[in-house]
């Protein structure tokens, strides 16, 4: 219904600005309806302004800034309606260490309400995991999965 959508839109918009400034350590972001007269038909546009920077078109953001802004959007949705589980495949690839750290802190904060499964090549990401599975292919085309024991072994994968 129109009322339900508009309520969700306003909530998520507020969340988006908050999560964005959490992940960027400042700055401002918002959602806008492309067609205010027809909210039920309207698309949603994102504007985002990293801290201290002037507002520009989204296409001018850096690779890492785009990833982080997109993650802020998804986490803004979760804040409104927590996902039961969330599967992320290499979403950290473009993030520098500092941005990655803030993203991981946010994920840890909400892991009680949302089960996260994250595929990664990044050691910092592995460090926040409660469980780790590893895939190998000793025989081509056939996946073998093993679990990585955290604790003693966890130190080993962090060399």
């Amino acid at each position: 219904s129109k009322a339900q959508f508009l309520k969700a839109f306003q909530e998520v918009n507020k969340n988006f600005n908050e999560v964005f400034s959490l992940l960027f350590n400042g700055g401002h972001a918002e959602l806008n309806l492309t067609d205010l007269n027809q909210p039920l038909e309207s698309g949603i546009e994102i504007t985002a302004q990293p801290p201290g920077k002037k507002l520009q078109r989204m296409s001018l953001l850096s690779g890492g800034e785009k990833s982080l802004t997109s993650l802020a959007f998804f986490f803004a949705l979760f804040r409104y309606k927590p996902a039961p589980f969330c599967i992320l495949d290499e979403v950290d690839a473009a993030l520098d260490d500092i941005n990655l750290g803030r993203f991981l802190s946010l994920m840890k904060k909400i892991k009680n309400q949302t089960q996260f499964i994250i595929i990664t090549h990044n050691f910092k990401t592995m460090e926040v995991a409660d469980y780790i599975y590893g895939t190998t292919m000793p025989e081509p085309s056939i996946t073998s999965i093993y679990s990585v024991k955290l604790g003693k072994d966890k130190e080993r994968i962090q060399e």
């Binding site: 839109f9 994102i46 997109s70 995991a129 895939t135 056939i142």
Partner: protein
């Protein structure tokens, strides 16, 4: 609701019957390129039968069923079961496809239509929700997606 267990057999690179137990909290999946990490994600998308099937790398049964290597022949069936935990309840969702193209869905061992699974999940707030599965490569392209696509995600959460 959370994922308790994923059983994969004959789906893509899972020639061996594979059972992966999941727990609440954060699970990382790691490993070298091409060893099957994203295939795990594909198996979850596939068993939930979502609209996303078209974006699954390859949706033909040829692409879905293990197609062999030098020592093992292609298999004739792909079978994935996802066990979801919801308070005291357990929901077991199964999808099976054969080389012929025949496809079956089961909910707690009872044969159903895909629609029945989607309705059940929808009641429990899961359904075809795209907003909590982010596939490899898509996070960098999200901002340049059409405004209508962003709206669809918000609607799913609303």
């Amino acid at each position: 609701m959370f994922i308790k267990k994923l059983e994969i057999h004959g789906f893509k690179s899972f020639q061996k019957r594979t059972k992966i137990v999941f727990h609440p909290g954060i699970t990382a999946i790691i490993g070298p390129n091409g060893t099957g990490k994203s295939n795990i994600v594909d198996s979850i998308l596939w068993v939930l039968g979502g609209k996303r099937l078209k974006s699954l790398r390859g949706e033909r049964s040829d692409d879905i069923i293990f197609n062999g290597n030098t020592n093992h022949p292609p298999m004739s069936m792909a079978d994935v079961t996802l066990s979801l935990g919801h308070e005291d309840e357990e929901l077991n969702i199964n999808h099976r496809v054969f080389r012929s193209g025949e496809s079956e869905y089961r909910l707690n061992s009872k044969t159903v239509r895909l629609k029945d699974i989607q309705d059940t999940l929808w009641k429990k707030s899961v359904g075809e929700k795209d907003y909590f599965i982010i596939e490899q490569g898509s996070i960098g392209l999200f901002l340049s997606s059409k405004p209508i696509e962003k709206r669809v995600l918000l609607e799913e959460a609303a």
